[in-house]
Symmetry: C2
Subunit: 283 residues, 2 copies
């Protein structure tokens, strides 16, 4: 596995493989890798000739009051996992390389980005879109892999790929869960033992929603009210949102029908967790 | 010369040439081609293996009160000129192909775009940057050619290329002038015969500035005051701006020194014309 933080070098290596018609798979990450990330790497290894992963804790996607400085970092461990999984190139740039002094260009998606997490993290997706445009231009992948846990992010990425005519296919893989069914996330490392026990309430709420819909409930308000109750049984939790929306447009729906996203963001203590399920409900 | 308005087809053709290590030159235009455009095409023909031009009157870069609908269009004539000049591929998409319903992604440069024309055309450069990001992603050129008449635009393009890590070289070629020294522009077609006579005041003002500097004047205010006088001798003119700035940062300067841009935007009747000169003044 080649490791570089040099943009030119990463670009040259990828360019060489592209010219040989090698299929390039790309997994952009912020490191602190877990099984969710590794499922993307493994899929890319199966589908592509040349697998590139990036580790970059992108300052542009953190709000001023968010957890940029304390975001978990463990390069040594990440490096080993990626090497063992057969990654060919690890791009690991410094923030000063990605955003040199005077940096002033931004990529912004103006519709999907305003929904769900966008309401609570106002410049988050602008930061995500900007860094991804940069990474896509450096690596030039054929396929980029994302996790369904960040469903909104993957929808936004698909939109910028389509709107800006990037020649990249986006693949979204299922959420990987811990034993207690908590969705894997680098931020789970923040949770204390009692918080970790509480954090199961997210998945429990999603399961309740799923059950209610199976039983015929079609009123989103009733479902989200039930979900809220599940979360509120746990102390020291704060709900940012629990929403039931069209899985593609992320617009609120009045009746459960078609491809539906049930998404939530909940603070367990000071740790903000997100989770979701997508259901295909017959019309 | 292949002509297509199909994004996939244009992309496939360029991709094929890129894989063969052909050097792709690209000249993005809004059509109504003049000698200024053709100088870019001729340069690309000399320097590149495969020359692509685009004609697209980009609605996104026009303000609501601007001249989108009456902007000059003459595809038949443009096509002939480009064919004669040896262009290999002409990309000529419809607006509905470039901006399908629900389009929501924008590329914005937030510093240089606020200066000069940016003050008078608030969303102009956002439109320019967005369409160029799209065109760059479709064509994938090695070199893209721009004219110095739009100096601010070419500086902004260089900035987004650098900030977003596009693997493209930007070349800027000198302003081509008509016999009366009016800078060539598609918008010159709007000018009546008396307006065309008046329009020489832009270049006259620039020449005055150049002379004053040669004679040792280093005070930008004094120079621009002189330039204003030149323009104001002509009736029915309105100055948007006459500015003397650092040619790279576009920031105002207090003393003429180094690489200096003298730029102006003036209405002759209802037609907004821009012009500039760049001087290298010994420190």
């Amino acid at each position: 596995m080649i490791i570089t933080g040099n943009i030119k070098k990463a670009r040259q290596i990828c360019k060489r493989h592209r010219k040989k018609s090698k299929r390039i798979g790309f997994i952009p990450t912020m490191g602190a890798l877990h099984e969710g990330h590794m499922s993307l790497v493994n899929k890319a290894r199966k589908e592509c000739d040349f697998v590139v992963a990036s580790i970059f804790v992108n300052p542009l996607q953190f709000g001023p009051a968010e957890d940029l400085t304390r975001y978990p970092r463990d390069f040594g461990k990440d490096e080993k996992r990626l090497k063992t999984a057969g990654v060919d190139l690890l791009f690991y740039p410094k923030a000063s390389v990605m955003y040199p002094a005077g940096f002033s260009t931004y990529v912004q998606e103006a519709s999907l980005s305003k929904e769900l997490c966008g309401k609570y993290r106002p410049n988050h997706f602008k930061g995500v879109c900007t860094v991804l445009a940069k990474l896509f231009n450096i690596i030039g992948p054929d396929i980029a892999y994302f996790g369904q846990k960040d469903h909104q992010q993957s929808q936004i990425v698909k939109k910028i790929i389509s709107d800006l005519n990037y020649d990249i296919k986006i693949k979204v893989l299922p959420i990987v869960r811990e034993k207690g069914r908590l969705a894997m996330s680098s931020r789970n490392a923040y949770l204390s033992v009692p918080e970790r026990a509480k954090s199961t309430c997210l998945y429990e709420a999603l399961c309740l929603a799923s059950e209610l819909i199976k039983k015929g409930e079609r009123n989103p308000q009733k479902i989200s009210a039930g979900m809220r109750k599940v979360v509120k049984t746990k102390k020291n939790t704060k709900i940012d949102y629990i929403e039931i929306v069209d899985a593609k447009t992320l617009n609120k729906i009045n009746k459960i029908s078609g491809k539906v996203l049930i998404a939530m963001a909940v603070y367990i203590g000071k740790t903000r967790l997100i989770d979701n399920i997508i259901l295909n409900v017959k019309k």
